[in-house]
C-alpha cells in the first residue's frame, strides 16, 4: 500500500479529522484533529492490514521562540505539537501522527491545552502521556492517572516549554 | 581446676575463679572464632569470586582485616531509630549472642575438654540454639522498620519449622549411641574413620546431609538467609543496626555456624577422633600418664577444630555459589523434603540398629590395632554415668579449660 493510497483510505474513513498530510518529510506524517484522534488510533490499531499495535513514543514539541526578534524569523506560529510514533510489529511498518495544539487553551496562560488520551488503546501511552504532561504541559483528557512522573508532585511549571523559567527556589534548594 | 585452685584459694573463691575463667575462655573462643571465620569468609569468597580478598592489614594475607573492621565498628556511632522500642532494640543483639554463646558451654572440644559436662548436651545445644531466633525477632520488631519486621517474621517462621527436621536428624546419632552425652558419643566413634556415625549405616549418611541443610537454614546462611536477604529486605532484621551492636549480630551468626558444624563433627564425624587411630598407635590415649593424655587431647582438638572449620567452609562455599530461595520454597524444602527424609532416615536407622546391633562394617572396635584399646559399650556407659555423677556443674569444668586455653593461643 503506497502512502497516497493509505492516506486516501484514511481520509475516506475519517474525513475532516485528518487535516494535513506530509508524505515528503523524512518521516511522513499525518496531522489529526484532537477530536478525531481516538477513533483514528483505534482504527489504526485494530484494522487487520494496518495493525499498528505498538506505540513507540509520544513526544511534545513546543514551537515557540521566546526571543521577540528571532520569533519574527522563526517561520512558525507558536503552537505545541504532540507527536505519536507508531509501528506495526506484524507488518513492520511505521507511522507518525501529529496533533497541533495551541500553547494555552483559549490563549489563557495557565490553561493547559487538551488532547484525548490514547492510554485506553496502548498502555504505553499511560506513562508517556504523564511524561508529556509533566514536562510539556499538555493535558490528556480521560487519562486514568495524570500525575507528574519525572518531576516531584509539587513542582511548578512544565520544564520543556520554551518560556519556562527555573524557579528561584524549591524547598530551600537554590534553583538558579 | 576448682580443686586445683583450692590449694591456694578459699573454696568459695576457687569455684568462682574457675567459673569466670571458663566463661572468659569461651567468650574468647567465640570472639576469636568470629574474627577468624569472618577473615576466612572473606578469603574463601574472594577466592571463589576470582578476587584476592583482604591482602594488606596484618601482612600478606590480611589476617587483621577483621580486627581493623572491628575497631572501625566500635568507633561508629551507635544509631537508634526514633521509632524504635529502645530497650528491646538495645538488648536484642545480646540475646542473640547469649544464645549461641551458651551453646558452647556443653560443647566438648576434645575427650573430656568441656566446660560443663551435661548428660543431655545434644538436647541442650539444640534447645539453646533455637533461642538465637529470639534476639533476631526482638531486633526486627524493635527496630521500628518494616523491612526489619519482615526479616524477623521470616526468621521466626523458618527457624521454628527447621527445628523439626533438625531435631529428628540429631536424634539419629543419639539413638545409635544410646546417649545424649556428647563426650560419650564422641568416644564411641574412636578408631578408624568407618567408626564414625556417618558410615554407621546408609541412613545416617542421608541424615547427615539433611542435618547439614537444616543447620544451614537454622543459622540463617545462604541459600536460606531470608531474614537478611539484602536484595529483598535491604538487610532484614539488622537494617537499623550499626556499630558494635551490628557486629554482635555477626558474632552470634558466626558462632552459631561454628556450633552447628562442631555438632555435626561430633555427631557424624567422630568429633575429636581422627580418621586413623593415631593416638592409639602412639599409646597416648590409653596411657596413664596425664601428659600423654593431654597430648592426645591436643591432637584431638586439632582434629575437631579442623572438622568444624571444614563444615563452616562448606557453608561458605554454598553461600557464595547458590542463589537464595524464596520463602515459600524454603518452607517447602523443610516440610516436603527435609522432614520426611529425616523421618525416613530415623526409621531406617532404628531398623538398622535393630537388625545389626553392632553396626555392619565394624565387627566392632576389634579393627583397632592396639589390643589394649577396647572401648566397648560398658566402658562408654560407665564413662557417661561417672560424668553424670558430677555434682557441681563447675566441678567438672577443669578439663574444658585446657581446650579453650589452647584454642585461645592458637
Amino acid at each position: 500500500m503506497s502512502g497516497h493510497e493509505f492516506v486516501d483510505r484514511l481520509k475516506k474513513q475519517f474525513g475532516d479529522a485528518i487535516t494535513t498530510v506530509n508524505l515528503e518529510a523524512i518521516d511522513p506524517w499525518i496531522e489529526v484533529k484532537p477530536e478525531g484522534l481516538l477513533a483514528l488510533c483505534r482504527y489504526l490499531r485494530d484494522e487487520p492490514d494496518l495493525r499498528f499495535n505498538m506505540l513507540n513514543c509520544i513526544s511534545g514539541v513546543d514551537y515557540f521562540e521566546p526571543d521577540e526578534k528571532k520569533a519574527a524569523k522563526a517561520g512558525f506560529e507558536p503552537h505545541i505539537e504532540v507527536v505519536y510514533h507508531l509501528s506495526s510489529i506484524v507488518h513492520k511498518t511505521t507511522l507518525v501522527l501529529k496533533v497541533m495544539l495551541p500553547r494555552w487553551k483559549d490563549d489563557q496562560p495557565g490553561n493547559l491545552p487538551e488532547v484525548p488520551s490514547v492510554s485506553s488503546i496502548w498502555s504505553t501511552a499511560d506513562w508517556h502521556e504523564r511524561e508529556t504532561f509533566d514536562l510539556m504541559g499538555v493535558h490528556f483528557s480521560d487519562h486514568p492517572d495524570l500525575r507528574r512522573i519525572l518531576c516531584p508532585e509539587d513542582w511548578v511549571g512544565h520544564a520543556l516549554r520554551k518560556d519556562y523559567e527555573m524557579p528561584l527556589e524549591y524547598h530551600g534548594i537554590r534553583g538558579r | 581446676m576448682a580443686e586445683y585452685l583450692q590449694q591456694y584459694l578459699p573454696q568459695s573463691l576457687a569455684y568462682l575463679t574457675a567459673a569466670l575463667v571458663h566463661a572468659v575462655l569461651i567468650l574468647v573462643v567465640v570472639a576469636l572464632g568470629t574474627l577468624i571465620f569472618i577473615w576466612l569468609e572473606r578469603k574463601v569468597s574472594g577466592r571463589i569470586q576470582d578476587r584476592l580478598g583482604p591482602t594488606r592489614v596484618g601482612g600478606k594475607f590480611g589476617w587483621l582485616q577483621t580486627l581493623a573492621d572491628g575497631l572501625k565498628l566500635i568507633t561508629k556511632e551507635d544509631l537508634r531509630p526514633a521509632s524504635a522500642d529502645s530497650m528491646l532494640f538495645l538488648i536484642a543483639p545480646y540475646v542473640s549472642l547469649c544464645a549461641s554463646y551458651v551453646a558452647y558451654i556443653a560443647l566438648p572440644f576434645a575427650d573430656g575438654w568441656v566446660a560443663i559436662h551435661l548428660n543431655v548436651a545434644v538436647f541442650f545445644i539444640v534447645a539453646v540454639l533455637g533461642l538465637e531466633v529470639f534476639g533476631v525477632m526482638l531486633a526486627g520488631y524493635a527496630s521500628g522498620s518494616k523491612w526489619s519486621l519482615f526479616g524477623a517474621m521470616r526468621e521466626a517462621a523458618q527457624v521454628v519449622s527447621y527445628e523439626v527436621p533438625l531435631g529428628i536428624c540429631v536424634v539419629v546419632p543419639v539413638l545409635i549411641a544410646g546417649t545424649m552425652d556428647l563426650v560419650a558419643i564422641g568416644q564411641m566413634q574412636a578408631g578408624w574413620f568407618f567408626n564414625w556415625f556417618l558410615f554407621h549405616d546408609p541412613f545416617t549418611f542421608i541424615v547427615f546431609w539433611v542435618y547439614f541443610t537444616c543447620a544451614t537454614a537454622s543459622v540463617n546462611r545462604a541459600p536460606f538467609d531470608l531474614a537478611e536477604a539484602e536484595s529483598e529486605l535491604v538487610a532484614g532484621f539488622h537494617t537499623e543496626y550499626s556499630g558494635v551492636r551490628w557486629s554482635i549480630f555477626f558474632m552470634a551468626e558466626y558462632s552459631s555456624m561454628v556450633v552447628v558444624s562442631a555438632l555435626a563433627a561430633i555427631l557424624f564425624f567422630g568429633g575429636w577422633n581422627g580418621p586413623l587411630p593415631i593416638t592409639h598407635w602412639l599409646g597416648l590415649a590409653d596411657s596413664a600418664n596425664p601428659l600423654a593424655h593431654y597430648v592426645a587431647n591436643l591432637l584431638g582438638l586439632i582434629n575437631f577444630l579442623g572438622k568444624a572449620i571444614a563444615g563452616v567452609t562448606f557453608m561458605m562455599w554454598v553461600r557464595w555459589t547458590l542463589p537464595r530461595l524464596r520463602i515459600d520454597q524454603v518452607m517447602a524444602t523443610c516440610l516436603k523434603y527435609c522432614t520426611p527424609i529425616a523421618a525416613f532416615g530415623f526409621a531406617g536407622a532404628v531398623i538398622w540398629t535393630f537388625l545389626f546391633p553392632g553396626g555392619l562394617v565394624i565387627p566392632n572396635k576389634d579393627w583397632v590395632v592396639q589390643e589394649e584399646y577396647q572401648l566397648d559399650e560398658p566402658q562408654a556407659q560407665s564413662a557417661a554415668s561417672t560424668s553424670a555423677a558430677s555434682t557441681s556443674p563447675l566441678a567438672h569444668a577443669d578439663s574444658g579449660l585446657h581446650a579453650e586455653e589452647h584454642h585461645g593461643t592458637d
Binding site: - | 578459699p10 573454696q11 568459695s12 569455684y15 568462682l16 522500642d85 530497650m87 528491646l88 538488648i91 551435661l118 548428660n119 543431655v120 538436647f123 541442650f124 539444640v126 534447645a127 539453646v128 533455637g130 533461642l131 531466633v133 529470639f134 525477632m137 526482638l138 526486627g140 520488631y141 524493635a142 519486621l149 524477623a152 517474621m153 521466626a156 517462621a157 527457624v159 521454628v160 527445628e163 554415668s385 553424670a388 555423677a389 555434682t391 557441681s392 556443674p393 563447675l394
Partner: protein, 198 residues
Amino acid sequence: MEPINWHSVFFLLFALVGCGFSVAVLLTSNVVRMAFYLVLALAATSGLFFLAGADFVGAMQIMIYVGGTLVLLIFGVMLTARGPFISMRTPAGEWILGAIIGGSLLVVLLSAATSVRAWRPVAVAEGEARPTATRLGMALLGARVDKLEEPDPTQREGMSGYLLPFEIVSVHLLVVLVGSAYLARPKKRAVGSTAETV
C-alpha cells in the same frame, strides 16, 4: 572464712530473676516486651532446673516454652497486630480479678510447700549415680525402670508407667494442631451455592 554456698547463691539469683521478670510481665503494657520478660522468667526457671541437676527438664523448658511457644506467640503478635494493638491496657476490674485468683493460687502453693515434710536438701552420696532423665523417658514409654527393684513380681505388673497419659497428651496436641489448621484454612467465598461455606 565461711565458704559461700554457690548453689544457694545461684538459686537465689535465678529465683529473683524469675520472680522479678514475672512481675515485670504483669506491669508492662507492651505485648512484645511482655514476651521478652516472660522469656527471661522462663529461662531463669530453667536455670533453677539445671541447678537442681535436672538438665533434661531444663533444656526441655528452654526448647518448648522459650524456643517454641514464645517464638510463635511473638510471631503471631507481629503478624497480626501492629501499632495501637500491640499495647495492652488492663482494666481495673481485671486487675482485681487477677489478684484474687493469683493470690488464692499463691496461698494454695505456699501451704502445699510448707506442708512438705522433706523440705530439705537431699544428700547425695559421693559416687552414687544420680537419677537421670533416662528413667523418666523410659517411664513415659511404659517401663518403670526405677521400680524394677521391686521384689514382688506381681507388684511389678501394675507399674505400667506413664504411657497412657503420654499418649493422651500426644493426641491432645494433634487435635490442637488439626484444629489450628482448620481455623486457618482458606476462607471459601460463596460463588454460586452457599451450602459449602460454613
